[in-house]
Amino acid sequence: MVPVDRGSSPEPARPAEGGWTDDAGLIEALRKGDEAAYRALVDLHTATLLRLASMYVSNHELAADVVQETWIGVLQGIDRFEERSSLKTWICRILVNKAKTAAQREGRAITFSELGDDELAPAVDPERFHALGPDRGQWSLAPQEWDRPEERLLSRETRAVVERAIADLPTNQRITITMRDIEDLSSAHTCSVLGISEGNQRVLLHRARTHVRAALEAYFSDVTDTP
């Protein structure tokens, strides 16, 4: 079979272990109690679920408990799942509900609907643009192209810089960039799971990405300046 370019399809079906290539096959197998189907699903999604859960609760053990509860919720709910969303979206939504409950038990509350003052911060330091005159709003200190970007962006050292920058973000931005750019989930999926609008999600994503970019720019210029 010739591979087909799926173009802008938001969630291309990935062949899972055992040969289930779509939700319908997996759901049917799961309803029949097929252990291999469940294992494939667990292998496919658990890392994502753990990463998301750890955004809400304070430690890894609690996150693992939330994931365990989520999978039990999936099994208990699979007969009633109406397939109005993708299986992955549905599973993530169960996780977010369980994680929010766990966060509340810990006295941590995360609100997504409100954008804090931080969301109004500019993407780039205003000092880097001309403030006056005919060049107002144009770069006074323009960014430089990064040298050997592919090699450097994927290095272990850069990864540590990125992880630190993401850890610094406000929670709602951190969850958004995690879903979109680490877990590579679609915008529709992210909005549906978090219960936020597309516009709201783009603002959060924009703030998060610009923060990480600034951290990378600072890191690369330090590296370049060091002989």
Binding site: E35, Q68, I72, L75, F129, T158, T210, V212
Partner: protein, 106 residues
């Protein structure tokens, strides 16, 4: 998905629908453009704003470099993924599955 596929997707900059219009309607400044980069990459600009965005890029090395840096940033963030599932955790999950199945079969 490999990082090369991801880069291809990031690079595409899909054509979009609704718009948070930029006030004015004239040429974008660099300072305005940097605030539209995510909307641009998400394909969320109106065709008018997208045209102004691309027209500005053509004549501005600084903004071209900025956009490349944002694409690079998305690529680097994607590189953080990839923890393997702890086998003990998988076993716990499989145990609760068997538990669920045995109760279901009764």
């Amino acid at each position: 998905m490999t990082w090369k596929d991801r880069l291809g997707r990031i690079a595409r900059g899909r054509r979009g629908r609704a718009a948070p219009a930029v006030p004015g309607g004239g040429e974008l400044t660099c300072q305005e453009l940097v605030e539209l980069v995510t909307d641009y990459l998400e394909g969320a600009l109106s065709s008018g704003d997208q045209h102004r965005f691309e027209a500005h890029l053509e004549g501005c090395d600084g903004c071209e470099a900025y956009l490349e840096q944002m694409r690079g940033t998305i690529l680097a963030v994607g590189g953080v993924a990839g923890a393997d599932l702890d086998p003990a955790m998988r076993e716990r999950l499989m145990d609760s599955f068997r538990d669920w199945r045995s109760r279901r079969d009764v």
